[in-house]
């Protein structure tokens, strides 16, 4: 069972397909759950503490905005732990402010720098593309060494 990083990391479709075909999806919910189940100082509703931008220094330089570094404290450990990645390139839902946009660019950059199997896809626009999408994900995941 491989740990597969998914991008967009909130994707329902990718999280489901990865777990359906026997692997562990690394999504933002997993790191946020760890975060909010750890005692610290509350800064509701965001739950990003002053410590997080410091942790993010491991993946982004000090002159990078703290918003990016704070986000990287969530995604960085997952990128370090992942053994494969599935990236959807035309994910309009990943659109956001500059903090999100730059973090997304940094995430995809770091994944591509890592020497792991990566599957690049677009969201399907019709039923036939849907079949090809699922077939590509299944073939990719079966190559990682578990069921289907």
């Amino acid at each position: 069972m491989a740990k597969v990083f998914i991008y967009p990391s909130t994707s329902l479709i990718l999280a489901d397909l990865v777990s359906r075909y026997g692997h562990t999806p690394l999504s933002s919910a997993v790191s946020i759950r760890e975060h909010i189940q750890t005692a610290g100082f509350e800064s509701a509703p965001l739950q990003i503490t002053p410590e997080d931008p410091k942790k993010g220094l491991r993946w982004a330089a000090v002159e990078v905005p703290s918003g990016v570094r704070g986000r990287m404290s969530l995604y960085g450990p997952m990128i370090a732990a992942c053994e494969a990645a599935i990236i959807i390139d035309n994910a309009d839902l990943a659109f956001g402010c500059m903090g999100c946009a730059r973090t997304n660019e940094l995430i995809t950059f770091l994944i591509r720098q890592k020497n792991i199997p990566i599957l690049d896809l677009n969201y399907p626009a019709d039923e036939e593309e849907g079949v090809r999408f699922v077939a590509a994900v299944r073939k990719f995941l079966s190559g990682l060494g578990a069921k289907p």
Binding site: A15, S19, Q37, A39, E42, E127, R132
Partner: protein, 152 residues
């Protein structure tokens, strides 16, 4: 700053999203309650939210998937159900994260079709997906055609 005391430590929360003509969230809810054994279950407009130990939640998810495998989708959630930091009853408006799910719900029928179709078809006969990294630039001859077509 106030001291933060985390709740529900060690428990996991999962969304079960339905895209089906055959079943409703209520059907799933009734089945989930039958096998819940203490897992917290909340019904939503799009499906269910489950919270409990990982083994219990995975057991219920596996059972619920059997009802309509190609039309039930599952993903993790970071916050527990009804958490004041995310619940729209305390924040107002749509829950953060809902819009992403709303977007994917427009694509999910194609995925369901793909999952069902793959059971029937030979996977080797299915073509490859287009590589999104190969950007196709506008051909100069095609550009000329477009310009010519625009001129009266």
């Amino acid at each position: 700053m106030t001291e933060y005391r985390p709740e529900h430590i060690g428990l996991v929360t999962k969304y079960i999203v339905i895209e089906s003509f055959k079943i409703t969230p209520q059907d799933l809810l009734i089945r989930a309650y039958e096998i819940s054994k203490g897992v917290m279950i909340k019904e939503n407009c799009f499906g269910l939210t489950l919270m409990g130990t990982e083994e219990d939640v995975d057991r219920i998810v596996a059972e619920l998937r059997k009802i309509d495998p190609a039309h039930i989708f599952v993903k993790d959630r970071g916050f527990p159900p009804g958490d004041a930091r995310r619940c729209r009853s305390s924040l107002g408006g749509a829950r953060p994260g809902f819009h992403g799910m709303e977007f994917e719900m427009t694509v999910i029928p194609y995925i369901s079709h793909g999952i069902e179709d793959l059971e029937r078809r030979d996977a080797t006969a299915i073509g490859k997906t287009a590589n999104p990294l190969e950007k196709s630039y506008l051909d100069i001859y095609r550009l000329k055609k477009i310009i010519d077509a625009q001129e009266p």
